[in-house]
Symmetry: C2
Subunit: 436 residues, 2 copies
Amino acid sequence: MGLNKKPYKGCRDFFPKDMRVRQYLNQIMQKSAESYGFEPYDGPLLEEVELYKAKSGEELINDQIYSFHDRGERFVAIRPEMTPTLARMIAASHRQTPKPIRWYSIPNLMRYENPQKGRLREHWQFNVDIFGAPDNTGEKELLIMLIHFLENLGADSSMFSIQINDRQIVDSFFQETLEVTNEEAYKLYKILDRSKKISKEKLDAQINELQLEANKVKALRDYLLIKDLDALQEFSTKYNLKKQTQNLFAIYNTLKNLNLEKYLIYDPTIVRGLDYYTGIVFEVFDKHPDNRRAIAGGGAYKDLLKIFNEEPLPGIGFGLGDVTLKDFLEVHKLLPDFSSPQFDLMICPLSDDVLEHSFKTALILRKAGLKIDHPLSKIKMNKVFKQAQAKGHKFIAVIGEDEAANNEIQLKNLETREAKNFKQDNITEIKKFIEG
Amino acid sequence: MGLNKKPYKGCRDFFPKDMRVRQYLNQIMQKSAESYGFEPYDGPLLEEVELYKAKSGEELINDQIYSFHDRGERFVAIRPEMTPTLARMIAASHRQTPKPIRWYSIPNLMRYENPQKGRLREHWQFNVDIFGAPDNTGEKELLIMLIHFLENLGADSSMFSIQINDRQIVDSFFQETLEVTNEEAYKLYKILDRSKKISKEKLDAQINELQLEANKVKALRDYLLIKDLDALQEFSTKYNLKKQTQNLFAIYNTLKNLNLEKYLIYDPTIVRGLDYYTGIVFEVFDKHPDNRRAIAGGGAYKDLLKIFNEEPLPGIGFGLGDVTLKDFLEVHKLLPDFSSPQFDLMICPLSDDVLEHSFKTALILRKAGLKIDHPLSKIKMNKVFKQAQAKGHKFIAVIGEDEAANNEIQLKNLETREAKNFKQDNITEIKKFIEG
């Protein structure tokens, strides 16, 4: 019995048709980020476990990371997320770097997941962050860029929304209005996080477990009923939280000026768990009924560098995974057809005798920047069209003995059947024929 | 004390200036490979250790891989090389794929190395392979592509050479001329592999240890003295190995027709260790005296799919690492300057009042495909030029109150000091001004 031909559990083999999709997504990510002045970075595949523990606490560490001791007894992990590496690199370099610092990365990450739709063990994640932008300009720039990126992929406001909240509102509401302890707040964050996934009865039961006073339960229910910014305005007036909503309204206004407010939905249940966020938090949701899941998430944070004993440097960022992005694009039919590779033309040597010559012709055309399919063996004249069309070619360059003797190719347009001989190094005319 | 800001041993942090270099190299790899019809693929970060053991034997497994048991007690490793993954994917798909199959990949790989110049624990490797090409056309196509790729980076025959040999010659010479046992052949491969790195005395001592008969020692010395193809011709006549040299001469002739033979050097010591090669083997060497090391290596193989119980499918491939490639390009001064990011223009809002407006202008210009640096805060008029020039900009778009009121920008060429106002959405004229 031979070895297993399947990839490791929860990981993917990217065959060419899959890889062309990944390259397309990477290219749009890169182009979108760079048009906003985000600069690329990357870090090591392994980091010391200490780093993840300091940033995310024990939960993630124990359940979800691939960790092991290296031969030098360092306790290391395959990166499960990029933010700790980012924080380490920013801590090491921010003093010498002009602000705002705009960085992006598309690393492969691994988490010990139970593989399911939208969740794999290995995925690629588009990470985009801004550090040191004044006031909330970083928040605005990042949200505009995120929307623009998804628009560059063909998406519009009928397909996705950004559910947004601000931890300043939630945190003040918990501490000042509900006056809960840290432990209770911790439970409340978890309740909010899951509130859309559980039944109303279950939600009520979980709220009751907290044994809050009646007026506070009422306040919490009021909070959960906020559906839009008008309702938030009302709520914040009623519970004396107007100051804490200013940031969110300012961001909303800028996006309104750009006609992008249609993407924003205020959502009181978005808190991004126990994470390190201190300002706005958001998740991008697919609106398609078959695929209602978050395809990206992020927020603003102040204290990411604290674990390195660095002064606070305000930042905001998001992460967007390739698995959920691909599901999103597929369900909305936004993915171009990548089933076949694209060539400028296929060289067709008609006999073994002209094969040497076709290597030469291929090299000349490739040096001119053309993408050339060279079959590396003769093709019989009566099979040329069939083979070329099966491979999706539009143009072929036939080389028979006459062509070889004259250093020529016979270019044919497979659609119009137009045919014409060219000197093999007459690149200008060859390109004209191909480009029409 | 805060956490360590350094990357894990033997790994690199890619800050933007480093990452732009990596992107440039990847782009040339991609472009070069695709102009030859190589299609992209990738596999998982982890594979079962069994796979590496089957392909490479115990040595690599014990000393050089990052292996561990996952939580499901699978014994896995971070990929130290791409070929076993490639073999697995080809075994799974070759029956449905038209030949020749041309694939390339640029994965990150990890080996447990002692970090030193040219050798790190994590590196990116350009892997290029052809399967199922008739005769030696795959060998020819691969070598032509490899040379073309290095030429695309600006290299020429004064900077690198390809030291080439054929395992058919070496294997026949060992078995039929020297008549050594498999165990002795194993030792001989190791001696050849290291022969250029040790003194003549040491080499002699190692040969003596084999206790070959005098005429065989003479033959081995004759072999080691082969310096070029003429000498190989003589040697093969003398030792009745002419048939085994035919493949190499055929490949050499095709490259000669393309004026590429200047890159080839016959080298009897190239055997590529105990690897799985069965035909030509080669290494690309930097000719610079400060950096005389192999920057790529590869060869032809027949039996890669055997471990999957598949019929033999002839293949040829090479691997080229990013660390040694970068050393090569640096020593020959072939790397473009990537110290700063490139922008089309920088937006300069002159007051806080026009900041909202500058978000709008930035979005319009970015939607038109321009790369825009938006500082996210006002810049005082007397600091505009200094700041823009410090960041390497050539053009700025000044937005004062008049411009904002009229939906205009004032474009300035920082070199010529030419300045002109444009409507912010007059993309055609704005592009003309920038492109000159």
